[in-house]
C-alpha cells in the first residue's frame, strides 16, 4: 500500500486528508450557492468560506435568476438540479441566457449520465455528484484566482 493510503471498511481507499492551506487565493473570489436543502446550502457556503471566498446563497432557482438579473456578479455559482419554484436546469439556462459567463458547477445528488448530459446542456461547466470535494474544487479555485491579473 502506498503511503497516505488506507483501506476503509467499505473496501475503498481513504485519501490523505488535505488542509485548507493547500490553496491560498490571492483574490477575494465571490460565489453564489443555490440549494434548496438547508444543510447542503450552509455546508457548501461554509466550505467556500473556508477557502476564503465571499459567499451568498439562495434556496430556489427563481431567487437565483432574480439575483443575477439584478446585477449581482459572481466568480463561481454552485447550483443544485432539484430546486423549489424554478428547477436548476431552467435556472441555469436563464442565467446563461442573460450572458453570464462565470464558472457554474452543477452540484447534485443525481449520478446518472442522463442527468449529467442535461445539466451540461443547460449550461453548467462541471457536473458534480454530491459531495463536493477538494479534488474538484481546488483546481477550479486556482483557475479562477489566476484569471485576475497580478499587480
Amino acid at each position: 500500500m502506498a503511503p497516505g493510503e488506507a483501506n476503509s471498511g467499505n473496501g475503498g481507499q481513504i485519501l490523505k486528508p488535505f488542509t485548507f492551506n493547500e490553496i491560498v487565493l490571492r483574490n477575494r473570489l465571490t460565489a453564489l450557492v443555490v440549494d434548496g436543502d438547508n444543510f447542503c446550502r450552509l455546508l457548501e457556503q461554509g466550505i467556500l468560506q473556508a477557502y476564503g471566498l465571499e459567499t451568498q446563497s439562495v434556496d430556489n432557482g427563481d431567487a437565483a435568476v432574480e439575483l443575477i438579473a439584478s446585477g449581482a456578479k459572481f466568480d463561481l455559482i454552485l447550483i443544485d438540479m432539484l430546486l423549489p419554484i424554478l428547477d436548476g436546469l431552467e435556472a441555469t439556462r436563464r442565467i446563461r441566457a442573460m450572458g453570464v459567463r462565470c464558472k457554474m458547477l452543477g452540484v447534485t445528488a443525481f449520478s446518472g449520465e442522463r442527468e449529467r448530459q442535461a445539466f451540461l446542456a443547460a449550461g453548467v461547466d462541471v457536473f458534480v455528484e454530491k459531495p463536493l470535494g477538494p479534488e474538484i474544487l481546488i483546481p477550479i479555485l486556482r483557475e479562477l484566482d489566476e484569471q485576475y491579473p497580478s499587480i
Binding site: E5, P17, F39, C40, L43, T108
Partner: protein, 154 residues
Amino acid sequence: MEVGQMQRRLVDYTKTLFMEGFLDAQFLQLQQLQDENNPDFVVEVVSLFFDDSEKLLNNLSMALDQPNVDFKKVDAHVHQLKGSSSSIGAQRVKNACIAFRNFCEEQNIDATLRCLQQVKHEYYLVKNKLETLLRLEQQIVAAGGSIPMIDMGF
C-alpha cells in the same frame, strides 16, 4: 482521564467509525473546516444534518402512509436525504438511500417500506455515533486540549 488519553480515545473511536463504514472522507473535510475562527462549525453542521434528516424521515413516513402512494414525492425526499447524507459523510445512510431509490422506481410498496426502516435504522446509528464523537471532542476542549487531526495512514 488526562488529555492525551482522551485524544487517543477519540482517534481510535473515529478510526472505528471509518472502518465500519459509518463515516467517509467527506466527514474529515468537514472537521478541517473547524478552526479558531469557526470553533463550532462541526457541531452546527451536524445539528443541522440531524434536523434536516429527521424532517425528511417524517415526510417519508407520511408519504408512504398514504392510501395512494405518490412515489415521485417519496423519491424526491430520498434523493434529498441522499444528497445531505453524502455531504456529511454518512456513508451507510447514503447507501441505504441509493437502494431505496431503486425500489421507488419499481413502485414496490413493501420493499420501499422496508427501505424506510433500513434508512431510519442507519440514520439513528450514525446519529448516535456522531453524538458520541462530538461529546468526546467537547471533553477534550473542556480539558484544555486540542482536537487531533486524524492520520489516515493506518
